[in-house]
């Protein structure tokens, strides 16, 4: 069983932005979903965990070893799929994986070959193994990203916004892949797609302005909101008066009409209908409470 402890992590950028603010977390095997809006500090946290950046203060401890002072410890067992990455042109998928496998420390040629073949098959790229990666479509490239993250012997996998730009089918396939892996090791999935977290993760956290707003199991949060979420479909032009009178946590267009959710312990009246909360409601509630 792996354990990742993040203690009081802070990071300020030179332009004055506070990216991480005294953040603490404790994770063990399983998939952990990190939710937060753009600019919340997710990527900073991911990069810091991957050893690509130094925190200003705080500690990261992976399996009892301090990672900040000993980054090679975590890198040795890290799989990292960054939000954005590129590849060398004119190099085939298997060549590139071979290069990265060496960097990960898979020194035996046969081991590399076996693992790369297996990975390519797993991510359904085996048929394209001799194609140049920079000619891949978005989904193929993302699957290649997963494959490279799995090279070697990763005990911690960090995936940063992996499904952005993927079509639903691609995304579905990708998620299946992640959940398969996530049973044995720690997988941190950073995203702003609530649905992905709901489908995949056993644990989740919500981060905003560098601060961890909530941390726990998705079901627990949903349960906590039971009976408190009310929904109503209104005309678009009527949004303003509702916003004044109710605590709107989200509004969504459905068939040209506006569907609003409000948080209220009691029936707010006005033909609002009680609904079963979902994780999205949890997410928006937490953000709303924070503001």
């Amino acid at each position: 069983m792996n354990r990742l402890q993040i203690k009081n992590l802070s990071k300020n950028y030179s332009n004055g932005v506070t990216a991480l603010n005294n953040l603490s977390l404790d994770l063990s095997n399983g998939m952990f979903g990190l939710l937060g809006p753009n600019g919340a500090g997710k990527s900073t946290l991911m990069k810091t965990l991957a050893g690509l950046q130094m925190p200003d203060s705080g500690a990261i401890i992976f399996n009892e070893v301090d990672v900040v002072s000993n980054p090679r410890w975590i890198k040795k067992q890290l799989g990292y799929l960054p939000q954005e990455f590129g590849v060398y042109p004119k190099i085939s998928a298997s060549q590139l994986l071979d290069h990265l496998a060496i960097l990960k420390g898979v020194l035996n040629k046969n081991d590399r070959k076996t693992q790369i073949s297996a990975l390519l098959e797993k991510v359904n790229l085996y048929a394209h193994r001799n194609k140049e990666v920079h000619t891949f479509s978005g989904g193929m490239k993302q699957r290649f990203g997963v494959a490279q993250a799995l090279l070697g012997n990763p005990q911690l996998i960090i995936v940063d916004e992996p499904t952005a730009g993927l079509d639903p089918e691609e995304r579905h396939r990708f998620n299946n892949l992640l959940s398969e892996i996530g049973e044995q090791i720690i997988v941190i999935l950073s995203t702003h797609l609530v649905e992905d977290v709901r489908n995949l993760c056993t644990q989740m956290g919500i981060i905003h302005h560098g601060t961890l707003l909530a941390h726990g199991a998705p079901d627990f949060f949903i349960h906590a909101l039971k009976d408190s979420i009310w929904s109503k479909t209104v005309d678009k032009k009527d949004w303003a008066p509702y916003a004044e009178n109710f605590k709107i946590i989200s509004s969504q267009l459905i068939g040209g009409k506006l569907n609003i959710h409000v948080y209220s312990a009691e029936n707010p009246g006005n033909d609002f209908v009680r609904i079963n909360p979902d994780l999205e409601d949890v997410y928006f509630c937490k953000l709303l409470n924070n503001n």
Binding site: K47, P71, K75, Y80, L100, T114, E121
Partner: protein
Amino acid sequence: MLKALIKFEGHFYFKKWGFYAMLALFLGLGFFVSIAANFSIPNVYKNSPYVLTFAIGLFSLATIFSVTLLTAQSLFKEKDSRFEAILYATPLNKSNFLLSRFTAIFGLTVFSFFLMVIGLMIGQQLPGLNRTEYTQFNAWNYVQPFLVLAVPNAFFSAAVVCSVGWLTKNKLIVYISGLLIYILYIVGSLFSNSPLMAGVSPPSAEAMALSAKLDPFGLVAFFEQTQHWSAYERNTQRTALTGNFLFNRILYLTISAFILIVTHRLFRFTTSSEKRGKSKIIKNQNIHTTSYQPTEVVVSTESYHFKTFFSFFKLDLLAIVKSIPFLLILVIWTFLLGVEIYTTIDAGVRFPEKYASSGLMVNTILATFPGFSLMVILFYSSEMVWRSKDTGMLPLENSTALQHSMVFGAKCLSLAVVPLALLAYSIVIGLVFQLAFQYDRMEWHTYAALFYLAGLPAILSTVAIISIQVFTRHKYAGLLSAAFFMVLTNSQIGRRLGITHPLLRFANSFTGTYSDMNGFGKYVDAFGWQMLYWSAFTIIIGLWAGHLFYRSHFKLLRKSNTPVLLTILLCCAVLVISGNIISQKIIITSRNAENDWQQTYEQRYRPYQNQLQPTIAVVKTNIDLFPESNSYKVYGTYTLVNKTNKAMDTLLLYQDKSIQMANFKISNSILIKTDPEYGHVIYRLLQPLYPGDSMQLDFSFKYNWSAFNRHDYFNAIVENGAFMRISNYYPRVGYQAGQEIGNDLERKKRKMPAATPIKKLEEKKAFDYDYGFIHFDAVISTNPDQIAISVGELKKSWTLQNRRYFHYQTPVPIPFRFAVSSAKYAVQKAIYKDISIEIYYHPGHYENVNILLAKAKNTLAYCENNFGPYPFKTIRFAEISGFTQGFNATAYPASIFMNESMAFHTNIKKASKEAVIDDLASHELSHEWWGTNQLSPDDREGAQLLTETLAMYTELMLHIQEYGNENALDKVNLHKDLYLNARGFSTEIPLIKATSAPHLFYNKGLVVMYQLYLLIGEEKINAALKNLLQKYAYPNAPPTALDLLHEFYAVCDKRMHPQIEDLFARIILHEVKLDRAASKKTPRNHYEIRVEATAFKYEEDGKGNRVQRPFSEPVEVAVYFENGAVEKRQCPVVHNKIMTVMTVSEKPLRVELDPKLNLMELMIGDNVLDLQ
């Protein structure tokens, strides 16, 4: 819309600091050109139209540089910022888009170049300049060349580079296209008579006209138009937009416009599609691989580091080798090196083809490779250093445990492989040439040396260039800094800026040359020390950069690493020690230091100029040569004789400053002054030396040179093929006027009085002339496997204590001028009458020995029959190494030394026209009559007419004897061109007074003697020369050039005297032009030819001013017939017109004026017309 677009384009640049840097660079370039560039041509002003056009035209090549940079920046800004999809989706009009962008690039290039012209203009107005070198300021003289050369050149460059950029959408290819244009220019100037390509033989008029038309930069056309201009014309005339120049300018403007129109047609607003892989449907193959399992990893062993290193190395190398630019680089290099090798082998029309030896290949590669490889390294370096970051691989790679110093090392190695591969490829090219030219003696070890001499510096440069990029941490700034560093420390520009010390010149490639006789010589040792120094330096900065490279990716502390620290310490020690050794051995002398020395010398010792001194009458000497240690020792005894009519009590002795001053022993004397820095010692004789009395002077000295400094070409004691004009280094008596500063401008600057004047032609001859001839007796010792050659007759040779001795003696007195050579010679001998002809040659250079023997016989026969007996029993031809430079061959009494780079090892079988061996052999051998010890004129105006011109004449007569008049005409024409091309660059004086102008006494001399030969015939000339020799040869008083003229007068009709005077004593030029030639059939089946021509004759004053003179001689008109016959007729010139009607019976083809070159004509292209 268009206006707004152009404005927007402009803003793009004005926001970039690099753009301002470029503007400043051009302005600075203008200043630099005005101050540092030396286009000084005597009598031509530095701001004359000619010099300004030359400078502006030449530097207009810099627009290639700015166009390429601007294009690379501007064309790809959307792509770089991934904006292109948005841009191309706008309703932007294609024409407006292209036009605005082109206008901005072209306009800014022209603008920045205009700043250079402004800089030049201002620079030339600065106070403190010597105003006598400048003429009246005229802005148009700056603007006109800018308009006719720079603007069209910028237009052409911009059209080509932009089109390439738009059509390929590849930044690298844009850079390559810039390079290609530059190469186009180089090729153009190869075929032109560009003064930039000094040493190249003059091309034929047709070749020049063709390349004038085709040179994209119009420089050849400029040189073609101005090649025969006098100083006066250069000062007053601007390049005229006529003829080939106009054609060239219009041609390239048209080509540029055409390129732009085609580009406009082909250009599409589409994003540069990264090729999607072929869309073949790939079936899901059924494969059985094991399912995914985590695999154990190891990241702390050496094996891990090595494997990551190798993986990066492999990928980076693949990236280079697979790139299109790499292929282009190979193509360009094949072309460049091929042209370079080919022209070296071909050696131009003047010289015979060279053998395609490995040495020639290696020298050519050494001369061209370093600059090219630096460009290639720079080109790839920035891509390489920032590759992970630029491609986006960085986050993937950085999340692994890899050690970044390994990445740095891999980048250095993979980039270093590129120059090494290029070098290996160069060797392949060299081998192909050797095979193609059927010279199959492959010297593998000579080729292999290239990897050390040029390969190691390229490796060091690679590491330095990458390190500099790492230090600057910015892609373009890094590239610029690295380029700047290399320009300063590796190019001639840096040298001109004063960066000359080897400890400042970063890892320069080996600058020596390979000689078949002597290899690379001792220079390899000095090079080794420098490489040691720079290797230590490079390791230190490499380690430092490796460390920073790590930090630039990761802000982490790094534990101190003991082995690295130890390496740095060790390298520091090596750096200090080797640096110390180098700086102790190196002697840096600036031009000024040399001038200062000369000035002080003159000030201290000129007062002794008229002090009577004894003459050296006998030289008895021992010379011990130690070739392998580059040294020799000399012991000697002079017999000094008082040949004046007064007693002497002071002896002023001088010795060259490169020699450790001799130990002198003079009995009965006191040393009163010794001044080793200026080479003088003064002795007071206790017993005065009375007229006619003699005394003894014993001395000994030694000499050696260090390979850290350049060797003296005339004192080249090298391992094999040593040659020393050793008399130059023996003690001399009295003040040495030859050490004075000769340059009048320099003297004026230093406020010095006039230099010791050269004796005037008309000055009265001394009543009792002292030749200063000596009896020479020398015992020379050398290595047991070498033969030492000196002057006079070899009396004896023996071996003693592992040294070989040679005793030389002169049977007749000779001038105080003797030389020594020593090498592992092969010998071949032949006898002509009683004279032994001996050839001493490098065993590998046997090809031409028999020819040389035959030519020597011919020459001896000709000279003995026509001029007088040969004064010795032996004549030797000895080959000497290429480490001696400055002459192809040189004649001493009974010995002629020939440089290995010429004659002995040229492929004369292939070139009957280029009879250089014949000419060299006959020329030098004839000096035994004209110059060495028979006819030895005193040092005065026209002295060279009596030595060099007469040797040229003998050479020409032997050439005619062997190859006939027709063939000789080519030779005469060549020398005429050499004379006409050179004369515009200095004040011309009549041939009879020529002193220091080789183009006069060699080239014009040959033409004049040929024309004299046409005028009075070989027999009369030889009679006159025989008389000259009888009257004036040693020991009779020597002749002056006037005496020669009088001998010519004496053998011919008085009517011819004015013509002879014109030839020798005046500067006469002719201009004849065939205006019309027509033939028509007469009723009796004959042909009537009408010829109309104009003819002018001018006399020049040597400074470019000319006056017309009456054309009194007839001009020969030749008619050529279908059957090959020729009919010639002398036609009088009346009022500068020739009108003649000839009736002939055969069908005429062609009419030509002056077919035999009786006239000294600037343009001969207009002398021929074909008949209908």
